[in-house]
């Protein structure tokens, strides 16, 4: 489902594409009103997944990554796999063209400038989960020349794949390397005939060539009352998702009682992903996922 800044027209689409999207919406049982609105003009109002009766709502969505809860590389892999298969993230088979919404890296790459040679063995060898920070003051939104990337009222930074012109200014602007560009056609196949999307999830749209994409905090799941895919499969308490504006939320409880850090907070972008540090007996040198 394409997303767009509210009330603005996106590129007209052809009949086949329309039917695909319409069918998809019907299948998912979500927002089809907007689709019929503009039909006569042969233009589609790209709709977000409209919120159902069970939708989860917040003033400011945020996530806490409690790194103590992640014991093995497998714990992380579950999260990254769940996300990438739910969102039809293509695997182009090489790091150059890589598309990723959530991934892991070491401490010195996750928190550059914070590392020193006497770090605890645990922290030194541990992996950390990285994803879009859904910043309070997102540089990607500031630089986008078409408002293809925009911030929702609930703080989620979104990407309208139907409006993106593929200029990649947002990739230059994001200090967290959270954005990926479709250097190839994600709906295509490699030289051996293997599709780049191994198993397509029919409930989520695939993207086209030449547009930028990234983590969306699973707006499509929030709309039907589900937590983000990574949160659901993380070890208990490993990923906590909630409303930063709600004093009673689980996120706020953890932030109140634990020392947390954010990536590159000195840049003033206001990341909404927090990390609880601490040892977890994670002392084996793991392979990066």
């Amino acid at each position: 489902m394409p997303y767009s800044a509210k009330g603005e027209k996106v590129m007209s689409i052809n009949r086949r594409e329309f039917l695909k999207i319409a069918g998809l919406s019907a299948a998912a049982g979500i927002g089809s009103v907007a689709i019929f609105d503009r039909l006569q003009k042969n233009a589609l109002e790209a709709s977000e997944f409209s919120a159902g009766p069970d939708a989860l709502n917040a003033k400011k969505w945020a996530m806490v990554v409690d790194v103590r809860k992640f014991k093995t590389p497998e714990d992380y892999k579950k999260c990254t796999d769940a996300c990438h298969s739910a969102h039809n993230v293509p695997d182009f088979g090489n790091p150059k063209d890589e598309v990723k919404w959530i991934w892991t890296d070491t401490f010195d790459h996750t928190f550059p400038g914070q590392e020193h040679e006497y770090l605890s063995e645990d922290i030194k060898h541990k992996n950390f989960l990285l994803l879009c920070n859904h910043c309070e003051n997102p540089p990607c939104v500031r630089v986008c020349p078409t408002k293809a990337t925009f911030k929702r009222k609930d703080g989620i930074v979104m990407q309208d794949m139907h409006r993106c012109i593929g200029c990649r200014f947002c990739m230059a602007a994001c200090p967290f390397g959270a954005r990926s560009f479709n250097y190839r056609d994600p709906r295509g196949k490699d030289a051996k005939g293997q599709p780049f999307i191994k198993e397509e999830n029919p409930e989520y749209p695939t993207r086209m060539i030449g547009v930028v994409e990234k983590c969306t905090f699973c707006t499509e799941r929030l709309a039907v009352g589900k937590l983000p895919a990574c949160v659901e499969v993380a070890p208990a308490g490993g990923l906590v998702f909630g409303d930063l504006a709600d004093l009673k939320s689980e996120v706020r409880k953890i932030l109140r009682t634990n020392y947390t850090i954010r990536r590159k907070s000195e840049l003033g972008t206001g990341p909404a992903v927090f990390y609880v540090m601490g040892d977890s007996g994670y002392s084996v040198v793991p392979e990066l996922l």
């Binding site: 800044a5 603005e8 027209k9 590129m11 182009f92 790091p95 150059k96 063209d97 890589e98 598309v99 890296d105 010195d108 790459h109 996750t110 550059p112 400038g113 540089p139 500031r142 630089v143 986008c144 020349p145 078409t146 408002k147 293809a148 409006r163 993106c164 012109i165 593929g166 200029c167 990649r168 200014f169 990739m171 230059a172 602007a173 994001c174 200090p175 967290f176 390397g177 990926s180 560009f181 479709n182 250097y183 190839r184 056609d185 086209m208 060539i209 030449g210 547009v211 930028v212 590159k264 840049l267 003033g268 972008t269």
Partner: protein, 390 residues
């Protein structure tokens, strides 16, 4: 006046078809990129801008430099530039055309380019850059064409064109300032996050552009009956000298701040570009070539005796142009992306299709330049000896 581009010597046509052939090869390579995607280039998730955006940036500078001929003539009544302001204006048109082509080549969804105007976004520097570049293109077309048309008839240009000339003088620095702001306002890109970025851009533009104009003027004198004028070329030489000194000085300031402060993030791009980092030194020879050519050009240019010999001046101009082309057309962009946001080194090098597309766009730009200069020079040849006050 366009008909003047349709008649020419054998040499002229050979040159035109040579450029057409290069542009054609570039276009074929672009078709390949269009179907395969930008994955055909050396660009990656970590280095997401490269040769195309570098060339774009460099050429905005060349376009802006046209003002170095227009300003002295119209604001200081420097008569020697009277005959050749048109060369600056037409160079600007060719350069902006190349800028537009490089942007199109770099876009993932070029068919959606109009989205920039359908959804104007005032907080995006890229939106403003599109506006000022198109404005500059329009101003130079209008002014250049009107004045040349009047010259051809042997009459003074219409009065209404004057305000547009003054506007274009103010407009020229703006296009390069806005282009610098594309880079200078991004958090976390240490190599670009510098308050003097726009100043550096202007200094390098006003050195590199006039250096190219000197070379072009000498070529014109050699192959046509039109003489841009010895004194005009010498004055351009002075302009190149002062701005090249300024450019090298400003680059030195960046070095000082990075290394005296010793802040790792600020030093890393410089170390990567000039020494290599984490075993990657692909760019190092190029950057040193740029630095050595910059110093060598200054050692020639600052001595008036050397500069006054046209052959020596031409050589120094080539050094200046190549040095700045490497520094701004390549190193500037790469230094912003390497090391990446995770302090990791992902090297970048253009691929063959990417290089062919780049050469093709330069050829297309030079074709525009050739046609415009052919028209301008034919008019000048016909009106030789007639001096018209603009």
């Amino acid at each position: 006046m366009l008909e003047k581009a349709l008649t020419g010597s054998k040499k002229y046509w050979t040159w035109v078809f040579f450029l057409l052939a290069l542009a054609g090869v570039g276009f074929l390579a672009y078709l390949k990129q269009f179907s395969y995607g930008l994955g055909i280039t050396g660009l990656s998730r970590d280095v997401s801008w490269g040769l195309y955006i570098g060339q774009f940036t460099f050429l905005v500078g060349v376009a802006a430099s046209g003002v170095m001929l227009v300003l002295p003539y119209y604001l200081h009544d420097f008569k020697q530039f009277g005959k050749i302001t048109i060369l600056g204006e037409f160079l600007a048109i060719a350069a902006v055309s190349m800028c537009v082509l490089f942007i199109m080549a770099d876009m993932g969804q070029p068919m959606r380019v109009m989205n920039i105007f359908l959804h104007p976004t005032l907080n995006s520097v890229l939106f403003w850059d599109t506006v000022v570049l198109n404005g500059y293109l329009f101003l130079n077309l209008l002014v250049g064409w009107t004045i040349l048309g009047a010259d051809r008839k042997g009459i003074a240009p219409p009065k209404w064109v004057k305000p547009f000339i003054y506007l274009s003088i103010a407009w020229a620095p703006s296009i390069h300032t806005v282009t610098a702001f594309i880079y200078a306002g991004l958090p976390g890109r240490h190599y670009w996050l510098s308050a003097i970025m726009a100043a550096r851009f202007l200094a390098s533009a006003f050195a590199g552009g006039p250096a190219l104009l000197i070379i072009l003027a000498l070529i014109i004198r050699k192959f046509t009956k039109f003489d841009p004028g010895k004194e005009a070329i010498q004055t351009l030489g002075k302009i190149v000298t002062y701005f090249m000194i300024t450019n090298v000085f400003l680059f030195g300031l960046e070095f000082f701040t990075a290394f005296y402060s010793g802040i790792p993030g600020h030093t890393h791009p410089f170390v990567y570009l000039f020494k290599g980092l984490e075993g990657h030194s692909e760019i190092v020879p190029l950057m040193w070539a740029s630095a050595i050519m910059a110093i060598a050009s200054l050692l020639i240019l600052i001595f008036p005796q050397a500069r006054k010999k046209e052959g020596v001046l031409a050589f120094a101009s080539v050094l200046v142009f190549l040095s700045l082309w490497i520094d701004k057309g390549f190193g500037l962009v790469i230094g912003g992306f390497v090391p990446n946001m995770f302090e990791k080194v992902t090297p970048y090098w253009p691929t063959l299709p990417e290089t062919l597309i780049t050469i093709g766009i330069w050829a297309a730009g030079f074709l525009v330049l050739t046609i415009l200069y052919k028209i301008a020079i034919t008019v000048r040849e016909e009106t030789a000896g007639v001096e018209i006050e603009h």
